[in-house]
């Protein structure tokens, strides 16, 4: 299942590249819009990078179920002998691999551009590593709820963004703290706990939502 989805994703290269370009462009907009000053950018950098990552993850959710819904694959998944939540989890993993992972790989570059210190960049990567799976997992629930709707995009952001807030708070706070030389273990513990929590429950909620959407 993971293999199949990855293969499909690699055939449509734009699906991988678009969220990444979006992420980079959004981050670029802020120095242009606010000011190129070093001190200010270093201060707001972590938040900006995280907000951009969050938006990129949300806008790419459409690829998670949409095409499978349209060609009927999703219905076959519902009928298959494997538990739906496992299949859903596989799809989420693929979504993370094609959207979350590139963002993590490119984040040191953007961190440098935003004048973050080396420690902060390291923390940024750790928080992205812990946080982006949460974005994919929670986003999958929202996407499963709106997949059958024609104009779900706006609605999806209204459903999903409030649930993303804890991730944003803890992650950008951790990066900020590590820049100030403070301990960040508390934030990282919370993020890991939240990720495990979502990992266990989100696939179940997603499959329940899919069943409703496909009725």
């Amino acid at each position: 299942m993971i293999k199949r989805d990855l293969r499909i994703a690699f055939r449509h290269k734009s699906e991988i590249l678009n969220p990444l370009f979006f992420f980079i462009i959004v981050v670029t907009l802020f120095p242009l819009g606010i000011s190129p000053e070093k001190v200010l950018l270093a201060q707001i950098g972590p938040g900006i990078i995280w907000v951009a990552a969050l938006l990129a993850a949300m806008l790419s959710l459409d690829s998670l179920f949409r095409s499978d819904f349209e060609d009927g694959t999703l219905e076959l998944m519902l009928l298959s002998e494997y538990p739906l939540s496992i299949l859903v989890l596989a799809k989420i993993v693929v979504h993370w691999l094609i959207t979350g992972l590139p963002i993590i790989i490119f984040s040191p570059l953007l961190g440098t551009v935003m004048f973050l210190s080396n420690d902060a960049i390291e923390t940024l990567m750790i928080t992205l590593l812990l946080g982006t799976p949460i974005l994919s997992l929670i986003g999958a629930i929202g996407m499963a709820l709106v997949v059958a709707l024609k104009r779900g995009g706006m609605l999806l952001s209204l459903l999903v963004l409030p649930l993303y807030i804890p991730v944003l708070i803890f992650s950008s706070n951790a990066v900020g703290s590590s820049m100030a030389g403070l301990s960040i273990s508390g934030q990282l513990y919370f993020l890991s706990a939240f990720m495990l929590f979502c990992l266990t429950l989100a696939p179940i909620a997603t499959s329940a939502a899919l069943r409703v959407s496909l009725e």
């Binding site: 209204l158 409030p162 804890p166 939240f194 909620a205």
Partner: protein, 256 residues
Amino acid sequence: MFKSIMKFIYHFASPKHFYRLSGKLIPWFAWLAALLLIAGSIDGLFIAPVDYQQGDSYRIIFVHVPAAWMSMFIYMVMATSGAIGLIWKIKLADVIASSSAPIGAAFTFLALVTGSIWGKPMWGAWWVWDARLTAELILLFLYLGFMALEAAIEDPRAAARACAILAIVGVINIPIIHYSVEWWNTLHQGATVTKFDKPSIHISMLIPLLLMALGFKLYYVAVVLVRARNKVLYTDQNSGWVKELIKSKNEQFTSI
């Protein structure tokens, strides 16, 4: 035992009986709510002593705090009845959940507005990025998301089930959001209503507060029943009992 309880619940939850029973209950709840709200307002606005730090402007808490309580309580009701509707397929639970949402959103909005009116003289700003304020704002977004999802799905059954899932996911997230935001930034004064902790509220201020809270709660029950009655009538408009009802109402009307 369990079977008979379930039978009773199903009996009560059938639209026809719900319609009749709620029609009898609504005036009681509404009048009690009005009575409590009037008593609470008089007690809170005129009788309760002036706060030694905040002067008279603290009196807005008699609206603000109960509204904030209700905003959370109604979300819990929504999620619980959504879960009941999802598990036992009781249609009435879905109706209650969907008719609670706008009321809850209204209370959340009220809490935010009264809070900012209070914040202007106290903190010198209409809005501060404080933990509780932000959490309440996020709660408002959750309500709006619920209502938007319900409006977007055409089939009412599917809409109710999708919304129930959303409400349950939201309810699991509320404590997480709450604590994360609290940890993020705190300026709001801590809760002072529990009598076990110091500093706590004086009894002469607590009584009007509780009167108002109870009044708000009964008001909510009355309004949610009215809304649910309308929804039940609308969804069952082609069934036998509604037609009978309309016929008898028409007869009453013509006899006058």
